[in-house]
């Protein structure tokens, strides 16, 4: 099997697992979907009709096939709580979540990489100690706690940022005013996620850079009299790049999980909070759809990272046996 066939089939397997899990989980939830939408006084005939409308009278495998088909065509059914199509509800939320996660991941990764490289270059300095500490702290501080403290300090006590929501109510007129308002609301969540994320990156990059800088080929490059900058970028950083991409890939599920908490704390209009509301409200179609979307996001990013990986590290494209 070629490299790409293996990668894509792996991603498809994960997606299949997610679908099956989704189907099983939300069907095992307490409460029949039918009982949640109807009055207990309905006649048995009406109940039966409702079950037919929802397709609950068919055998389980047929339900599953139907479920897979409709999910893959992004038809998530109608929300039990709002009565509107779930796809419509989600469409307005996906860009918000993508903006939040994308910006914060980019910021924390670049800040962390920069600080980590600096720390590796200045072993034993104050900066290095700060990086090590910030890494340890970011692993043990619950994200929602840091965010709550930031919210209380910078939005409640010192009203620099809005307390809740993705936009002001009502949103300001005009393109620029709208964009500015959006950024203003997104600033604190992104700041908090960056603060929480960069420490882990920095500590990892520092450890990796220290290891690579001890290798013989760096000594050789230095002996050849190459400029320092070129050694750092062309040799040290180039060697680290594939590993950093793997790290990015490994951190994605956690980042997606973080969206649920961040959007809850800041009351953002995003997929994560939608999922929470759906789970607590026993809204199965909505919860299933949000879960599927979050998983799809993860799987898609995994594939993308694989693609980048094969570009920066040509060795992985070779078959394992050939290597």
């Amino acid at each position: 099997m070629s490299y790409w066939a293996r990668r894509v089939s792996g991603a498809a397997l994960v997606l299949g697992m997610v679908l099956a899990l989704n189907f099983a989980l939300f069907r095992m939830m307490p409460g029949d979907p039918v009982t949640s939408v109807m009055d207990p006084d309905f006649s048995p005939e009406a109940r039966e009709r409702l079950r037919q409308v929802y397709g609950l009278d068919r055998p389980l495998y047929a339900q599953f096939a139907l479920y897979v088909k409709s999910t893959l065509s992004f038809d998530f059914g109608v929300s039990f709580l709002t009565g509107r199509p779930v796809a419509d509800e989600l469409r307005s939320r996906v860009p918000n979540t993508a903006a939040l996660l994308g910006t914060s991941l980019l910021l924390s990764a670049s800040l962390g990489t920069w600080l980590g490289m600096k720390a590796a270059l200045r072993r034993g300095s104050l900066l290095e100690r700060c990086v090590l500490w910030s890494g340890a702290l970011s692993f043990s501080f619950p994200s929602f706690f840091v965010q709550l403290v930031l919210l209380m300090a910078l939005a409640s006590a010192l009203p620099l940022f809005p307390l809740r929501g993705s936009l002001s109510v009502p949103p300001p007129e005009g393109g620029w005013g709208f964009a500015l308002d959006y950024v203003h609301h997104l600033a604190l969540p992104v700041l908090s996620l960056t603060l929480l994320g960069f420490g882990g990156w920095a500590i990892y990059v520092r450890n990796l850079a220290v290891k690579v800088m001890g290798e013989d080929f760096i000594l050789m490059a230095r002996a050849r009299g190459l400029p320092r900058r070129r050694i750092l970028l062309g040799h040290v950083f180039r060697t680290m790049l594939p590993t950093l991409l793997t790290l990015l890939l490994m951190s994605l599920p956690g980042v997606v999980s973080g969206a649920v908490i961040t959007e809850t704390v800041f009351s953002l209009h995003g997929v994560g909070r939608f999922l929470l509301e759906a789970v607590t409200g026993h809204d199965y179609p909505a919860a299933g759809a949000a879960f599927f979307l979050l998983s799809l996001l993860t799987v898609a990013c995994n594939l993308l990272a694989d693609l980048l990986y094969s570009v920066v590290d040509p060795r992985v494209r070779l078959d394992r046996s050939a290597r």
Partner: protein, 392 residues
């Protein structure tokens, strides 16, 4: 084990465990009881706010003097306890610069609250005015006393609700935040330790199987590990917590089912490196069975590493539990740190500026996690002394 006593994390865990075992016994009231006005400040904050006071008047000591140096109390209640019968006596309040005011009759079972309209009317107050602000308008010396009359055995309890209470103030329901904080330690410890223990057991057995048996068992298990690692964890946990119920033990079980992967990988690689070691080959040559080799030789080799991975796994479980509780997916009757933060976030602690409901549980979680990380790092260094040299 000698170096453990020199780690701050170890002593921190000892102190927290003792606090968790003592729990609510450290406090007079049960942590679920209302003890003071909602969002009372900590006692060491805001000296102009009155603390909560309780005065007891009996037939033997019929009067009490109150040196009032604060703004008006936020609430006032009065009740007659014990056998009093019909005494014909009254509770009187002497205010600075005004005539004595008859508050209430001393009659068995009598109770009144500053918010009752009937009580306000009996004092001649308009129904919408705050009784406590009217009765304690300014600073000065107040005297509460019983008028003369026949002796009786019960007592009259006058309670003035203050604006500050206890070490850490109170929450939105007027519960003692310090008692909640101490009670919350137990949940974090139980869930963290139990989930980490289960995950280690699961990870060890699956890792042993994958590493020693190899072949398709190894392939299937490692694929499963990759799969579980690439699914966003929190949404699954949320669904499962809503599905399986929200009890502590269920939560620990759910957490462990989704956190055994790291241990399995570690154990597998360790077993792979040991499997073909000459002494294992020798054992096999002597006719030892697989079970015997696994149990008596390979498993003990993994113990030091396992102890370290287990300790390092506790913070993850604690943070996951806190996250789920913060999202409101835990049992509302179980007091935990995550639950405290959830209630602070959803029930108006922000509007009240009640930071004392936010900082203690959050730092509690962090300190507990850091302590486990510290001890775990020590255990890791003991298991693999190379790490210690690399650190310097």
């Amino acid at each position: 084990m000698k170096g453990l006593a020199r780690r701050w994390g170890f002593w921190c865990l000892v102190v927290l465990t003792i606090a968790a075992i003592l729990g609510e016994r450290l406090f007079a009231a049960s942590p679920g009881d209302q003890v003071a006005a909602p969002f009372s400040k900590p006692i060491w904050l805001g000296r102009y706010l009155p603390p909560t006071m309780e005065l007891r008047l009996t037939a033997d000591s019929p009067s009490a003097t109150l040196d009032w140096r604060y703004s008006p109390p936020s609430g006032l209640s009065l009740r007659v306890e014990g056998p009093a019968g019909e005494t014909g006596r009254f509770v009187e309040l002497v205010r600075p610069g005004s005539p004595p005011l008859r508050l209430a009759p001393v009659r068995e079972g009598f109770a009144a609250d500053g918010r009752d309209i009937a009580f306000k009317r009996s004092l001649g107050l308009p129904p919408f005015k705050d009784a406590s602000a009217h009765l304690f308008p300014e600073r000065g010396e107040y005297v509460l006393s019983l008028t003369d009359g026949p002796s009786f055995e019960g007592s009259v309890v006058v309670r003035l609700e203050g604006g500050r209470y206890g070490l850490l103030g109170t929450d939105q329901r007027g519960r003692d935040a310090a008692a909640l904080f101490v009670t919350g330690i137990r949940v974090s410890l139980i869930v963290g330790l139990f989930a980490a223990l289960l995950a280690t057991l699961l990870g060890t057995s699956l890792g042993l199987a994958a590493g020693y048996l190899g072949g398709w068992v190894d392939a299937v298990l490692m694929r499963t590990v990759d799969l579980l690692l690439s699914i966003p964890l929190l949404p699954v946990l949320m669904a499962l917590a809503a599905l399986w119920g929200r009890g502590l033990w269920q939560l620990a079980l759910i957490l462990s089912v989704f956190s055994w992967m790291g241990t399995a990988r570690t154990v597998r690689s360790l077993i792979l490196s040991l499997r073909d070691a000459p002494y294992i080959e020798g054992l096999r040559g002597l006719g030892a069975s697989s079970g015997y080799i696994l149990r008596r030789h390979l498993l003990p080799e993994t113990f030091p590493v396992l102890l370290a991975t287990m300790t390092l796994g506790v913070p993850g479980a604690i943070l996951s539990e806190a996250g789920l509780s913060f999202l409101g997916l835990s049992d509302p009757r179980v007091i935990s740190w995550g639950r405290m933060l959830h209630e602070a976030h959803s029930f108006g602690a922000f509007a009240a500026g009640a930071w004392w409901l936010l900082i203690p549980p959050g730092t509690g979680i962090s300190i507990l996690c850091l302590a486990f990380l510290d001890v775990g790092k020590h255990l890791e260094e003991t298991a693999d002394p190379r790490l210690r040299r690399a650190r310097t």
